[in-house]
Symmetry: C3
Subunit: 136 residues, 3 copies
C-alpha cells in the first residue's frame, strides 16, 4: 500500500454529483502505476463511474433510478426514517459503495468520458465520508 486517506465531502443535494476533482485533490502523490480504491462509509449513498460531460445525464440518472425504485411502495416495512430511506438503501445496493480504478503514468486512468460520482440518495444526506486507498 502506498497510502490511505479519509475525506469528507460537502453536503450535496439529492442527486448525482461528479467528485473526481475532490478525489484527485486528496491524492497528492500517485505512484507510476497501481490502483485506487474509493469507499463511501454510508448505506444511503453510492459511488459510480459514469458520463462526465452532459449535465442532462445526471438529471436522467435521478429520474430513472426513482422510476426503478419508487418511494412509497405499498409493501415496505422500513418506513420510519422517511419515504426516501429504504429506496436509498436499494439504490446503494445497485450502484455499490466501493470503486477500484487503475492508476497509470502517475494519474487515475479513467476513460475520456468517465468521472467519479457520489450518488446522494437521501433528501438530506449530509456530508459523506470517503476512504481513499492507493496501491502501487
Amino acid at each position: 500500500m502506498t497510502y490511505q486517506t479519509e475525506i469528507q465531502l460537502p453536503a450535496f443535494s439529492r442527486g448525482y454529483h461528479l467528485i473526481t476533482s475532490y478525489v484527485t485533490r486528496a491524492l497528492s502523490d500517485l505512484p507510476e502505476a497501481g490502483l485506487l480504491n474509493v469507499f463511501v462509509h454510508h448505506t444511503s449513498a453510492g459511488l459510480m463511474i459514469n458520463e462526465n460531460a452532459d449535465p442532462s445525464v445526471r438529471v436522467d440518472m435521478e429520474s430513472i433510478f426513482n422510476h426503478l425504485v419508487p418511494e412509497n411502495l405499498p409493501f415496505l416495512e422500513h418506513t420510519m426514517e422517511g419515504p426516501d430511506d429504504m429506496p436509498a438503501h436499494v439504490k446503494s445496493a445497485l450502484t455499490g459503495v466501493s470503486l477500484t480504478i487503475p492508476i497509470a503514468n502517475g494519474r487515475l486512468k479513467l476513460g475520456t468520458w468517465q468521472g467519479i460520482y457520489l450518488c446522494e440518495f437521501r433528501n438530506r444526506g449530509g456530508g459523506r465520508k470517503l476512504t481513499l486507498t492507493v496501491y502501487h
Copy 2:
C-alpha cells in the same frame, strides 16, 4: 498480499443475510492498513454492503428486488432450472459478486451502519463459498 483464505458459509434461506462476523472471524490477523477483497464463487448469489441494524431493511430488500426482477416474466428462455434461477442471475449482476473494503487500525473500516451481506437469490442455494484476500 498478506494472505488469502477460503470460507464456506452455512446454507442460508433465500434473502439477505449479514455475514460480517463470518468474514471477520476468518481474518485472524489484519494489517494496520490495507484492503480486503471478498469474492463469492457463485452466479445466483451476490454480495453487498448495506444497513446492518434494522431487520425490516432485509425484508424490504427481498421485496423490492423481487419487484424489480420478478419470476415468470413471459419472455424468458432460461427456465429449466426453475423460476427463481434466471432472476437470481440478474440480481447477482445488479449487486455484484466482489467487494473491496478498506482496512484501518487493524480492522475493517466500515461505516457505523454498514455490514457485509450475502444475498441468497435461490430458494435453495446451499452453502456458498467465499474467497477473502487481504492486502497491506
Copy 3:
C-alpha cells in the same frame, strides 16, 4: 503490483459477451496468489461475472435489462445520442465498470459456472478498451 496491461476487445454486438478467454490470454504470467482488476474505460458498457454455460442466460440478460431500463422513457432529457444511449449509462451504473477477482494457484479463481462478461449496451459500441492490473 505485478503488472498492468491494456487490451482492446473486438467490436461486439449489443448484448452480453463472455470475455474470460480474452482476459486470460492477455495475462501471460500470473502470480501464485493475488488479485486481478479488470476495468472498462467506457460509460455505455459494463463488466459482470455471471453464468458461463447456457447461451439463453445471455439472451435473457438482454431482455431483462431492457425491461428494467427501457428506451424512450418519456421523461428523459439526454436523448441526442440516440434512444440507446441514456439507458446504456444507467445499465453501466447497475453492472459497474470494474471487477476484482482473486488469483490462486497461478490462475483466476472463478467459480465453476462463473465467466467474465463485457456488457455492450450500445447498438454500435465499437471495440471497448480494458485495463488489467495484477497484484500479488
